[in-house]
Assembly symmetry: C2
DNA sequence: CTGTAAATAGGAATTGTTCCTATTTACGAA
DNA sequence: TTCGTAAATAGGAACAATTCCTATTTACAG
């Protein structure tokens, strides 16, 4: 069956060992939840979803673990104007549409953008690499289409 | 002297009237502070800076006013991973570099980007217009250059 | 000037996130 | 397998940013 997920989990464990991080059930479950998620859950949401399987899971653990994963480069924090952070496992580079009405976040790819070089003057200012485009607007659903 | 500022203030008052918003001293001062700011102050910072001239200014008023301005399209909320929001008056369209070390925000322009069309598939998803690029990295200063 | 709806001050409440610390656990070594 | 230890967790307290509540004040139309 889901050998893709299995591979992800194996890679995840390898990534942990490579950094001398213990492979705990909490970390496994949180990573799996993110790897399987279709949406961009918040820490709170992840906690909710997992609390059935891990009833004693604390919210602090979720936050701590997400930070750890982000430091490892395993996941991405999605930028938004709102205060809450959204998370996702980093797969192919992509950007985000945010509907200003329903706040839904939609991923999209934009190769032209990924390949684009920053302007000369900007490159002179430091080592800047991770380009992240956020586009705001209204999604079709909210437009009533 | 600063006729540029004067014009900005006049435009500001006009913008308020156009929306039936009262021109209060608080709104004037907050707008002026932003119009003159060289950096990207937080609400708190703005409150600090103004509390000399407006000793009774409440933090809530600053937050409320900033939200109002953002709705009016007069100012922009700068996106960051951190929770605090940064504000600036919207002048020429521009994007942001964020140094992951010192958290400094540097504006830059990128016309090619502003003019770039979103991919076809993306345009089909709704009405998305405001493109905002955030580039993360390390600034020269933090690189020790 | 006056009346009224809008805006403000100040403090309380909320929300997202992090800290504290006693307890538990993963896992390398014996 | 068992043990020791450093790392990780749970749970609640603390914190920081932001928003809410409401009595009071104010801009401005008439």
């Amino acid at each position: 069956m889901d050998s893709v997920l299995k591979k992800k989990m194996d890679d995840f464990q390898a990534a942990c060992r490579a950094r001398d991080l213990k492979v705990t059930p909490q970390r496994m479950e949180i990573f799996r939840e993110l790897a399987e998620a279709e949406d961009h859950p918040t820490a709170e949401k992840i906690h909710q979803r997992l609390s059935e399987r891990l009833p004693s899971l604390s919210l602090d653990t979720v936050y701590r673990t997400l930070r750890t994963f982000a430091e490892m480069g395993l996941i991405l924090r999605v930028e938004t104007t709102d205060s809450q952070a959204y998370f996702e496992v980093s797969h192919a580079p992509h950007h985000h549409l945010i509907c200003e009405k329903c706040k839904k976040i939609i991923d999209f790819q934009w190769q032209q953008m990924d390949e684009a070089q920053l302007p000369e003057e900007v490159r002179a200012l430091g080592r800047f690499e991770k380009k992240n485009v956020v586009v705001y607007g209204i999604c079709n659903r909210c437009l009533g289409k």
